[in-house]
Symmetry: C2
Subunit: 371 residues, 2 copies
């Protein structure tokens, strides 16, 4: 681990961000949605990958979509001159001037935000660009179809540059309600005859609902090389690359006898004598405590590497792996928790969640290296 030599970082854990993989995945979005502009979604510190890496790797995007106005400010300070969409709009009226200074596009999803924009324009500010959010069945943010056109006309009459937006609840699934088709139909009926570009598709729709793209697509998880469904098999042939590689090292070895147990609760009982490697990564680093025995962990062993199964409950700072497959591994051997050798979705699957959650949860104590 590069940084340990300088004495600043001692625990051998590191998240490496692969800029070329970012570029590759963004190019894949262009291939899949050649007629659309792209909002690259980088909320939550770019799904745990850090803004600096995202700005570097995704610089050919048409715009960045995020949540926090201070993150928009960060992008401007670091030279980003393209568009920036605030995905939940503003949270307080007093942020409007700042949003104007930063030239942000604003999602508008509730009445209070409409009131703020009307008052703001009344003070002779220039009109901002608005993505008006329609609730077509997700029932999270947005206006229901029956009031949508009224709200649209209020903002349009005030002079804002209007766009239409909705969000799919089930673009990654079949046979779940509401369906993509149903939401799309409701959206199209509601905006019939209104001017303004549209934005509908998240990663799952870009991959699997090519008739529901709209003028601006909003890829998130696919930019990071993980699956919208949480199943790696579903993107195995989509030609996406893992952007984050999470590495650590073996810091201790235990030789177990048959019947010995590992870790809290003694969940894992050795079925025979075995060598166990203790890895400097635990749930306080962002590795899921839920991970079951058998979750794959890649270990360097001599001049190659092998996958070894997790053994025992993940603790706060450590986890244990059965080294039966890696006789040459020892203290100092490099371990990959997820990345190009272990899909993050495979770890997520063994933990009852999806890659999104694991990537976002990489802890602040894990140093990030941009490659």
């Amino acid at each position: 681990m590069g940084d340990s030599a300088n004495g600043l970082i001692n625990r051998p854990i590191l998240a490496s961000i692969d800029i070329a993989a970012f570029q590759h995945n963004l190019n894949r979005v262009r291939e899949l949605a050649p007629e659309s502009k792209i909002w690259s979604v980088i909320k939550a510190r770019a799904y745990g990958h850090c803004f600096e890496a995202a700005l570097k790797g995704l610089s050919s995007t048409d715009g960045f979509a995020l949540l926090d106005i201070q993150d928009a400010a960060w992008l401007r300070e670091h030279g980003w001159q393209g568009r920036i969409l605030l995905l939940e709009g503003l949270f307080h009226e007093n942020e409007l001037s700042r949003a104007e200074d930063l030239a942000c596009d604003l999602v508008v999803h509730c009445d209070a935000q409409v009131d703020w924009l009307e008052r703001f324009k009344g003070k002779n500010h220039k009109p901002l660009s608005v993505f008006l959010k329609m609730n077509t069945g997700m029932n999270r943010l947005g206006f229901k179809p029956e009031v949508y056109r009224t709200v649209f006309h209020r903002l349009h009459a005030t002079g804002y540059h209007m766009h239409h937006m909705t969000h799919f609840a089930n673009a990654d699934q079949v046979d779940q309600l509401p369906s993509v088709g149903g939401q799309q139909e409701l959206f199209n009926e509601t905006i019939a005859g209104l001017e303004g570009a549209t934005s509908l598709a998240n990663s799952a729709a870009i991959l699997w609902h090519r008739n529901a793209l709209g003028d601006w697509v909003r890829p998130g998880i696919m930019l990071y090389g993980a699956s919208p469904t949480g199943l790696h098999a579903d993107i195995e042939h989509a030609n996406l690359r893992a952007v984050m590689q999470l590495h650590s090292e073996i810091i201790d070895i235990q030789d177990l006898q048959k019947g010995d147990r590992i870790g809290y609760g003694g969940r894992y009982e050795a079925p025979h004598a075995m060598r166990v490697g203790i890895v400097a990564c635990g749930y306080a680093d962002g590795y899921p405590r839920h991970a079951k025995d058998g979750t794959p962990v890649w270990v360097s062993s001599g001049d190659h590497g092998v996958t070894c199964p997790l053994a025992g409950r993940v603790s706060m700072d450590m986890l244990a792996i059965d080294l039966s497959n890696a006789p040459n591994a020892g203290i100092g051997s490099v371990v990959q928790l997820w990345g190009d050798k272990v899909p993050v979705d495979d770890v997520a699957q063994m933990s009852g969640t999806i890659g999104y959650e694991l990537l976002c949860a990489v802890a602040p104590r894990v140093p990030v290296e941009i490659q």
Copy 2:
């Protein structure tokens, strides 16, 4: 939310750290272990509470125990003159001088670390204080009893100040192997006749195994007011107080008809017409995506507050709650995700995990306020 007015923070989410609760919980440890010195365990940014708050709230501890040598440096820079224990010792030989400069106590758990210490002392450095770790059945870090005494004598002969240490696998459970009694017996037999103070007890042992305390106790989770077992009921009468309060606000309201669904996968289906509040907190803030429908969320409603059930899958930045119990709640109403009104362990229980994981996982994008 105090910080939103200055325009720096827009999303209305905030983790407040209660210094008085920290002091109270540390005093409880003193009452429970009056004969022992206390290593307050503050690894993982003080279980997500931030070092600054821990230093302030736990300043009457005998020592702080943590993982990263840079965190030890931070404590020294901020005036801490008491002892500091590096719980996994050093990860690289080149950190020894720094550990000496910072006057750290070192856990020693593997042969390589013993070699480093022998070489270091041979260069006429002053002897550091060592907590030699014995593996009495946890099978994570440490020396097995059969080699422990040999290692002890090597370091003792070199001139180090020796202490004995082990860690319990099941102090929070009964009828699980290895048992506290079994581990303790093995520990005591192995160190018989050797000089040096002992350290055995984690929070669970301090609460429930008062005969297994040793000279230095190592409370972690109980300092933060959460339960070692993950069940709030188990500490309900232990007189501990929640240190972190995680708050957000309602940012949108949806009026649902019977049969409408909420969020991804449409997991929640409204059994009747209901008002739903959308809260600015999601799994990318550290709230568990696993949380089941019905997980308690406290909402201010008029001049009091009520508990409302989570409805639908937690998404990355938002969650939804059924406001049937809170007719006066609306956009801007304050919500407590966990803290004094909703035990973090209750949220964890509904998510198949323990409070530890949730506290540690509070995301860097959540601002922290020390009160």
